[in-house]
């Protein structure tokens, strides 16, 4: 040991410094790895200590949005770890709630939160509640009511409700034709053919997309045909 120290002392100063630095860095890396292992084990506990969104809203004095962004990163990482199989999604909704309380206009958080709640957690009512909260804060955003309609259409297969939400989405200022098309499809699927025709007609009259106009025309024709069949009349082709 003594000879090793003596040999080291004989080394040039820059090498001594370099070796010392590397040794210290090594110790730092090993310590950090140890800390990370412990943190990973207690990751579930960590989420319990995230304060509620309401507290954070007061405590972040003017910097709410940036704290919401930071929590958003944590939410995405938390979901990523779930996808890797590290843990379940027990604290996911709490994180999304905190993000949306801090920044009620954070549309992506509502959207992503509702997707995870409905698809991964199988909690459609919770997904819809989150989206409804989003609509209260962002009444002009079409994506949120559209997503509720989507949940009703695909997951609950409640076409009448889906159509109602798609129609709400279609009335939003920046709604695309997409929303109106879905509203009409849902009405048709639910058997409400008059409602469906009205929505398709609205789309036909207001869209600037020629392909969409053709589609609307075709769908109006189909609905009318079905209506005639229901009424016992003959289909158009046979006339």
């Amino acid at each position: 040991m003594r000879t090793l120290v003596q040999r080291l002392r004989r080394l040039p100063a820059w090498l001594q410094g370099g070796l010392g630095g590397a040794l210290l860095l090594g110790v730092a890396v090993v310590s950090l790895q140890g800390i990370e292992r412990t943190a990973r084990a207690s990751d579930q506990v960590e989420k319990l200590y995230y304060p509620s969104g309401r507290f954070l809203r007061e405590g972040t004095v003017g910097y709410r949005e940036i704290v919401a962004d930071f929590l958003w990163f944590r939410t995405v990482q938390y979901y990523g770890a779930y996808r890797k199989g590290d843990h379940d999604l027990r604290y996911f909704s709490g994180l999304v709630d905190a993000v949306t309380t801090l920044d009620p206009q954070f549309i992506e958080a509502y959207y992503f939160g509702s997707l995870v709640a409905s698809m991964d957690q199988d909690q459609i009512p919770r997904a819809i509640d989150l989206l409804k909260r989003g609509i209260l804060a962002n009444p002009d955003n079409w994506l949120l009511p559209f997503q509720i309609g989507f949940n009703h259409y695909i997951l609950s297969q409640d076409y009448e409700r889906a159509a109602a939400w798609f129609a709400i989405a279609a009335r939003c200022p920046e709604a695309t034709d997409f929303a109106r098309r879905f509203a009409a499809f849902s009405r048709q699927r639910a058997g409400n053919l008059e409602g469906s025709i009205a929505l398709w007609r609205n789309l036909y009259e207001t869209t600037s997309n020629p392909a969409m106009r053709d589609l609307a025309l075709k769908m109006i024709g189909q609905c009318e045909e079905q209506l005639q069949q229901q009424a016992g009349g003959l289909p158009k082709e046979s006339l």
Partner: protein, 256 residues
């Protein structure tokens, strides 16, 4: 009379530039580039929002840091170096001297914010986020907020040590952003006198949320022109009040 104040202001500006305060702009740029480039895979469709949030918040935060660090020690430095006593032998009043100091730091803040705004706009364009003219309103209101805080730090530094002046200013900043909550708290407490006291506190302390339109701007909400005008007036009133109070206190201060 204006010239003396102008000379002090120019000198303060040069002094802060010599203190390499603009290094902060470099750190700001690095944070912005980091947030836009490194964190973009984590944003899930919110990259534009996050770059804008980080940019606007960092501008305000770094501005606050400059005010606290530079503003709080501005007077003490000159007292310790005895330059203050030399300056005051010239035909300049103490009030003019204080105003000059305040204006000098305000000009520094303005230059810093302008450079940071340019960096911010360039990074937004690089990230393919279209900057809306509303962002100019956010820059302007951030400048107003920092000007008000600057006046507060000048006031506090006339009668307490630099550390205490920085702490007091930070407290004012926090309370200023929570003043609405203070009033709401008083209103829900139930008793009439508590509601009255909280109302008085609310109107006495500057409501700094007036200058915080960052969230609205990032989410594309409109900002009324009248809001900008009234916020300017609100800021001017408090700056005048703080500077008048600071001049009165400083005029009575015994300089050794």
């Amino acid at each position: 009379m204006l010239n003396q104040g102008k000379a002090v202001a120019m000198n303060t500006f040069r002094e802060t530039v010599r203190d390499r305060i603009f290094y902060i702009v470099g750190i700001f740029g690095l944070i912005l580039i980091g947030s836009s480039a490194v964190l973009s895979p984590l944003t899930i469709g919110a990259q534009g929002k996050i770059v804008a949030d980080v940019g606007l918040s960092s501008m305000s935060l770094f501005g606050l840091l400059v005010v606290l660090l530079v503003g709080s020690s501005m007077l003490r430095k000159e007292l310790e170096k005895r330059t203050l006593t030399t300056i005051l032998t010239k035909p300049i009043t103490r009030g003019q001297y204080l105003c000059g100091k305040f204006c000098g730091l305000t000009v520094t803040l303005l230059c810093m914010l302008l450079v940071m705004s340019l960096v911010f706009l360039v990074i937004m364009l690089v990230c393919r986020v279209t900057p809306h003219p509303r962002f100019l309103a956010a820059f302007y209101l951030t400048f107003l907020e920092l000007t008000l805080i600057n006046a507060a730090v000048v006031l506090f530094s006339t009668f307490v040590s630099p550390t205490l002046a920085a702490v007091f200013t930070l407290c004012l900043f926090v309370i200023g952003h929570l003043s609405e909550s203070v009033m709401n708290f008083g209103l829900v407490m139930g008793s009439a006198w508590q509601a009255q006291i909280s109302k008085i506190v609310y109107y006495l302390i500057p409501n700094l949320e007036v200058f915080n339109i960052r969230g609205a701007v990032v989410h594309g909400q409109p900002v009324a022109f009248s809001h900008l005008i009234l916020a300017t007036l609100y800021c001017l009133v408090y700056v005048l009040l703080f500077m008048l109070l600071a001049s009165v206190i400083f005029a009575r201060k015994e300089l050794r």
